[in-house]
Symmetry: C2
Subunit: 258 residues, 2 copies
């Protein structure tokens, strides 16, 4: 039932939505999402507060920057980007988000979303009212602990991006990006060597602090070296070892510093 919904999502009925209401227990993402480590009873309590599932079609907004914070959002299926807009129009993509990941953590501090969240393909989103989440996590210590880990994981991820933006060259950034995507697909049961990018070169560039032309050239370069095969949005990683080696490459340079 749920499975078919993910394939043909245009056939929603009221019944479907009611059935979806408390679905954490049956959700295939239990081991990735908030319910990690909870027992059946606790998962049920969590499922009860996940008030509804939202469908966000490609190109539309899950939430806007500046909007009042009410809920966290868990990606059930699909693919989203978050981005911040500077006053002068510059945009920076702060992350790409796939199933099992949580959005809105940035909004807790200011009670306002700091990012726009935009679907890059049709997505299904579980809405988690944050006040209720805090309330029940007082009664479910393992939920609270896991939530803290999720927030902390986001901080660690951000440090990784800072490292990338602060000290890597274009080719290294792209290699790091592809390896990250590859791993996340793999964890979700997809191929780590073959996948489709959901975002444009420009969005990749924004995330990596590069211009779209530079991203394109870096793709071409990796392809010339037979490390990957690029066919528009489709990526095939031919030699993941050499792709990984791209990261430690400036080891040689550092060597001379000693």
């Amino acid at each position: 039932m749920l499975k078919s919904l993910q394939i043909d999502s245009s056939s929603y009925s009221k019944l479907d939505i009611a059935q979806l209401k408390s679905s954490c227990g049956t959700c295939g993402l239990r081991e990735l999402c908030l319910p990690v480590g909870l027992n059946e009873d606790e998962v049920k309590k969590l499922g009860d507060i996940v008030s509804q599932k939202r469908k966000v079609s490609r190109g539309s907004y899950l939430h806007y920057a500046g909007a009042e914070f009410q809920s966290l959002f868990a990606v059930r299926s699909g693919f989203l980007k978050t981005c911040i807009l500077e006053q002068d129009g510059r945009q920076q993509v702060t992350g790409f988000h796939m199933s099992g990941e949580l959005l809105g953590l940035d909004a807790i501090s200011t009670e306002t979303y700091t990012c726009d969240a935009i679907a890059l393909e049709d997505s299904e989103i579980c809405e988690i009212p944050f006040a209720k989440l805090e309330e029940i996590s007082l009664a479910i210590p393992s939920l609270m602990r896991h939530f803290h880990k999720i927030m902390s994981r986001e901080i660690v991820r951000d440090y990784g991006v800072m490292l990338l933006l602060g000290s890597m060259k274009a080719e290294e950034r792209l290699a790091s990006f592809l390896l990250n995507l590859s791993r996340r697909f793999y964890i979700r049961g997809y191929s780590e060597h073959n996948f489709n990018l959901r975002m444009t070169r420009e969005e990749i560039g924004s995330y990596l602090g590069l211009k779209l032309e530079t991203v394109s050239r870096a793709f071409s370069k990796l392809q010339d070296e037979s490390i990957i095969v690029v066919d528009n949005k489709h990526i095939e990683i031919k030699d993941i070892t050499r792709l990984r080696m791209k990261l430690g490459k400036s080891y040689d340079d550092a060597f001379f510093d000693m």
Copy 2:
């Protein structure tokens, strides 16, 4: 009593340390640190778990990357940096931390510190055993909520750094950095126009994704424009408005894109 300790910290006795033990109630940083929004009784409970205060002298480590996570650390006085080291020797400063700020949030997810934390001047640190913090926050909802806000604030801060690293020019980065420091000093009751940098040009550069020479040149440029006066580590902001204007400057460029 506490005040004198902060001035002459070499004269610790056992009694002093005992007195320090539960000091959140008397700490001048209550309005910045974890106790925000707690009543007297709750502050006392929090103070009870802050097992001890550590002194970290300039140049030494508060914690190492890779070490087992036990505690968060609150900066009571002093100044620290956190940095990650890549396998190839590249280092990236991920943050500078002053009084009232919390360190170690990154370690919650992996139960291992991901950064080195190094004192840039003699510092006093409150150690907060994290397991105990989670335990008592189950009983003090407002503490839990505030803790969530602190973690979220760190995520927002990281987004800001990502924006800076991903899309700003050298001069804009430095302006942003100085304005950020200025504001943090101001909040703590110090001058927003006159302050001493605790870090080297190289550390600033690492944080901002620039080389130290570039940082130095950017300082000189801002000085040439009479926006700041630089005397080694001392900074005087002469014209904070024009410093702020440095940030929105590429508005003009963006304008042509429309």
